[in-house]
Symmetry: C2
Subunit: 255 residues, 2 copies
Amino acid sequence: MATIIAVANEKGGVAKTTTTLSLGAALAEAGQNILVVDLDAQANLSLALGVDPETVKQSVANLLLDSISLRSICRPTSIERLSLVAANSEMGLAERFLPMRKGYELTIRDLLHRDSGAFDYILLDCPPFLGAVTLGALAACDLLLIPTQPEYFSIYALRNMMAVIRRVRAQNNPRLTYRLLLTMHDRRNRTHRNLTEQLHESFGAGLFTTMIDVDTKLRESPISGTPVLTHAPKSRAAAQYRALAQEILQHVQET
Amino acid sequence: MATIIAVANEKGGVAKTTTTLSLGAALAEAGQNILVVDLDAQANLSLALGVDPETVKQSVANLLLDSISLRSICRPTSIERLSLVAANSEMGLAERFLPMRKGYELTIRDLLHRDSGAFDYILLDCPPFLGAVTLGALAACDLLLIPTQPEYFSIYALRNMMAVIRRVRAQNNPRLTYRLLLTMHDRRNRTHRNLTEQLHESFGAGLFTTMIDVDTKLRESPISGTPVLTHAPKSRAAAQYRALAQEILQHVQET
Ligand SMILES: Nc1ncnc2c1ncn2[C@@H]1O[C@H](COP(=O)(O)OP(=O)(O)OP(=O)(O)O)[C@@H](O)[C@H]1O
Ligand SMILES: Nc1ncnc2c1ncn2[C@@H]1O[C@H](COP(=O)(O)OP(=O)(O)OP(=O)(O)O)[C@@H](O)[C@H]1O
Ligand SMILES: [Mg+2]
Ligand SMILES: [Mg+2]
């Protein structure tokens, strides 16, 4: 049975997609069989792996609305042991029509559990909106990874995230655990240093030890259609996402 | 009749809220009567003006779902000539229930047109999601301001935005015009310089002349609960948003 990790945050632009892609590639490099799933109508994860979303005939939207099998829409990528379920702009339809189905919150969980045997980890890239798709991902996951910038709006967003976690634990997924990942951290910036300290004080062990610094290699890699581990294997970002992969492998073994 | 400006982009974290707040304050400083409306369940615009969203009893959600009047939920801010319609997390309900009403796309337009006499400009801060609320804002506006970072995912998002503009023009708002605003631009970064050049080549006059550079004063000002024009009046960001206000005043006079 695969370990399912949802990467979600209502706040936009905090490196959800960048983290799903880079962490997925780092876990694959460490020998794990990985599936990354693009749950966002923006289809940025698909784009960053060199797939043109306009060519994607069947996406997660079909999986959720038409009940096709997960295996039929998994595709290999240029990275060994890394497969992708791509998205197209029809994901917006899933957001609108999924809630009309009875018991829709467990649709994603049931689909992933039925077909996940071939993978060690499944990573879900969520849109910046706490709608039916993100709630479905939270109901399905073993671990919720919340990328957070050390900035005021991003930290405020944690309040809504904690409320949603409590609700999902009560309704569909009592074992849901979460971890915050500090992203796009600029060591030279005083506001970033102050807010990072505050986050450590309030969340303590709820934060990954690994922190991802600002690294322009992460801006360049989507243009090349490959993860930063391939585009710039010696970069600080590649090293930090490798460290995060090790931390997650350890976390999963202990729980 | 007020000029309505929607600030929207499906891409998250591109400075939609920062732009609505800073531009609103700059237009107020220039002598215009301004209303800024928080259409996002994250309620960041309300937060940045010192309002605690948990204390907001009636928000835009009530305006859209219960048909209360705009005047009854406008509140003054610490900035002269700048009023706010605040949000709370119930905005998520509006996203879900608005589409069930017949002709829902024109709800926001009708509400704003009925009650906008007291204002010269109304600015709408949209969530990072092309759902009923953002589509309603596009149907209501005279000008769509699209904040865009000079980064790969942000530029790709313009494809969906252009498709949505064509649809809204055909269905509800034939006179809708748009302008791109380059935000969070880092002059030292090669990727930013290259992608900025590409944007100028493909969009030409579709881009505002004013560009907003990265400025840490914009990270600090939300913490102070005041716009950057008050928090750091001599900063580069304050000067750039003042220049943007002038450019918009000129654009509106010419069209
Ligand atoms: N550590 C980093 N250093 C520099 N740039 C980064 C870093 N992480 C992400 N980025 C860039 O910042 C932007 C936002 O990241 P990304 O798109 O992954 O966030 P997101 O949370 O998935 O956004 P959305 O809410 O729109 O889905 C992207 O242009 C990305 O290339
Ligand atoms: N020019 C700038 N320089 C530095 N930081 C900026 C700048 N503009 C915005 N920011 C910061 O970047 C972050 C993203 O900006 P903001 O929240 O306004 O974007 P948004 O598009 O409204 O996000 P969302 O999609 O979540 O609504 C915020 O923390 C903000 O303080
Ligand atoms: Mg994303
Ligand atoms: Mg915002």
